[in-house]
Symmetry: C2
Subunit: 445 residues, 2 copies
């Protein structure tokens, strides 16, 4: 049906979001088939669990109903790795391309900006751009594999040392949070090398390609685009606040960091502060955190990472824009101005739509799960926010989900990965505006 | 300090929101003092519990740490009644006045509309308007007292029959939800007279004075203002949906409506469907509802009643506008059009601010309570949404709250009653707009 050249050609006109959704569906279906093969697992698994794992990998979530290190063979683990790379790097590349296409549709100024940023002028330019993104990602991943191997080969020998470095590099850069260890990175809670390498990897993947490319090309903070400025300042502030919050709230909790020494306490607070915004690894037991810490992490998971990145969530810029619009309103002003740039009405409405639709998706999931599951409400809420933000942290509910519950989480992971981006780049029509400051483009979602 | 004529005159310039907040604070402080008097209670009570009760009454919430019917004397109950009338009718009147003042500040067309609606032309007009609102409220309350007495005097005799009719009329019309019975209206779960009278009372108080006045003056649906149309259609739809939802989800729950006959089941579903949007009475035990029903009620409590009413919450119109903006965005259109009226950008931003600030207030409350209280998370979340929406439904946590918890709830009830209105009517500056459809005024919050 799809390949009858010409005949059905006109009927197969698809919009970019449709192409994106279809690609993800195909990857998930293929992944499910491969993971259901007898050679993929040590024991036969159910179709539902194969689907769940394939979806979790492709959407770079990391919620698991099986033990990745024990229940899957090396073949199965490689399938998972490939799905992660497709779902993380693939979506990032797609998003970068849409940003460029978007650039073409909104005014001369932005167009020149984008063309300058990517030297993109034609179809050849698109191919070149994809090559740049891929080359950038592969370079970082190779570098990380070498560095992690320096840490893990001495501990595990050449074979597993390199293999586990490859697996965790791909999982970290793509913000997937899958681990070969049943307790994620809890064995390395106070290990500086693992803490630094893994977090730098997922933060690099999560801040967004446009920001990195902007940082690469400019010399001063002033020269950065509004989007890059927002992302850099916002990331710093939110991470510091989160680290302090977790450090203070968990300081005396013997089940998490209470019994660790000060250095380990700080590493653990840092790691748990930066991981909820999509990465999803954990170095302490999430189920043992205080309820207050859990509630705070819900917010971090909802906010998520940067646009055009390997991360998900509503995106940090979306969150910041909404906050600034409200602040502007409270100050009695009409135009939201940040770093001497006005936020266009269209961007505000887009951000609003992303937040509202995301809240609706999470709310409906919580509603359904609270009917189908008999677990404590906090575990249900946490699972829903984690699935929507494709974070993968869990208080331990995932394995105990009912079949309906698993299906609901599968759908939410899919929406969480595709939805905000689709919304963010739909309706990118330029609007005439009669305002003093020039408009600033901010990618949200 | 306040009454030194002239000298400090210039320093005591207050904005309407400040006047509003101060009036409420004064009422709460006076109420606390009166309720702490030995003649107000059967046993001595703590200052904190007096403050909690005074705040709950003044903000028409209905959350109780003491048993209104048993722990308070008739004197104490009358104090509570007066605080409820001040907090409900007082705020409604204030909101109506602001709508009129707002009318003066936004263009000739709206001004004429408002003046037509209220025949308000001068300071004398303001006094006349207050008289109209009061006369309207007192008339309805007197009528309800007579009708409820017909039901309760035969059951309880003249004295308590009339007294309880007065108390529940004031509590219902002002959407306070205080009851003289420890189990609220659970003794009347299948009683048509009580069900109809109480719900009609709180829906009349909760739909907003502007809507009622609009209904009074116009003959056809077409002639109604955009705001009235939205409120009427929205109220009908949300109530029917809520009733169906609760009926289906609780049908087999033996702890709520499972053991009732069909008629009682329907009355109970109806009552619990309409009460969460500020009223706060209950005819079945809220703590026994299914988790799914509870989650759905959270949404209803957050949405709340109508603007310029005795109810609270973000307001039904705010909710509807946000939904329509998102729908418009998804359809790829720029202007949000309802009933052939465009929703102005300013109204959208105002609605956004109300929702975001409300979510922040509820989120911070949940965060603090999950640190200070050891109760199940669902009970904490429910308590927070109930306090913000000044609903007063509870799964049973209120009496067990820690002192810090009680103070946090006191603050949230205050914010929930004052905040959205203050936001809604701040920044009512007219904006030039170049759109095809004429703008439609919608009161949000
Ligand atoms: K993840
Ligand atoms: K109430």
């Amino acid at each position: 049906m799809l390949n009858k050249k010409g005949v059905l050609h006109r009927n197969i006109q698809m919009s970019p979001p449709q192409i994106l959704a279809l690609s993800f569906l195909v990857a998930i279906v293929l992944g499910t088939l491969l993971l259901k093969l007898p050679i993929a697992t040590t024991e036969p698994i159910r179709w539902l669990d194969a689907l769940f794992t394939a979806t979790s990998a492709t959407t770079v979530t990391g919620l698991v109903v099986l033990d990745t290190g024990l229940d899957f063979t090396v073949f199965g683990q490689i399938v998972i790795m490939i799905l992660i790379q497709i779902g993380g790097l693939g979506l990032m590349t797609f998003a970068v391309l849409i940003v460029v296409m978007l650039g073409k549709r909104i005014g001369l100024k932005e167009r020149i900006l984008v063309q300058e940023a990517f030297n993109q002028t034609s179809m050849g330019g698109v191919v070149r751009l994809v090559k740049i993104v891929f080359a950038f990602a592969i370079t970082i991943e190779l570098l990380a594999i070498v560095l992690l191997s320096l840490r893990w080969v001495p501990e595990y020998g050449w074979g597993f040392g390199i293999y586990t470095s490859v697996f965790h590099t791909i999982s970290a850069f793509n913000n997937a949070g899958f681990s070969l260890w049943s307790d994620s990175l809890m064995g390395y809670v106070g290990d500086p090398a693992v803490n630094i390498l893994i977090t730098v990897l997922f933060m690099t993947g999560g801040i967004g390609f446009t920001v990195l490319s902007d940082l690469w090309r400019t010399k001063t903070f002033q020269q950065l685009s509004l989007h890059s400025k927002l992302m850099i300042v916002g990331t710093l502030v939110i991470n510091v606040v989160a680290m302090l919050f977790i450090f203070v709230l968990e300081y005396q909790n013997p089940a998490t960091i209470g019994t660790l020494n000060l250095g380990e306490k700080l590493w653990a607070s840092y790691f748990q502060a930066v991981t909820p915004r999509t990465a999803g690894f954990n170095s302490i037991d999430i189920g043992d955190l205080n309820a207050g810490t859990i509630v705070f992490i819900l917010l971090l998971m909802f906010i998520g990472a940067g646009s055009a990145s390997t991360g998900s969530g509503i995106k940090l810029t979306t969150f910041l824009i909404i906050m600034m619009v409200v602040l502007t309103f409270l100050r009695g002003r009409n135009e939201t101005v940040v770093f001497n740039r006005t936020i266009r009405h269209q961007i505000i409405i887009r951000s609003l739509a992303i937040v509202v639709i995301s809240l609706i998706a999470v709310f409906i999931t919580i509603l359904i799960l609270s009917i189908t599951e008999s677990a404590p409400f906090l575990m249900i809420v946490f699972e829903a926010f984690s699935a929507f933000g494709t974070v993968g942290l869990s208080m331990g509910l995932t394995g105990d989900l009912s079949d309906v519950g698993k299906l609901v989480i599968v759908v939410l992971m899919f929406i969480g990965r595709i939805g905000p981006l689709t919304l963010a780049f739909s309706l990118a029509v330029a609007q005439k505006s009669s305002i003093r400051y020039p408009d600033g483009e901010v990618f949200t979602g």
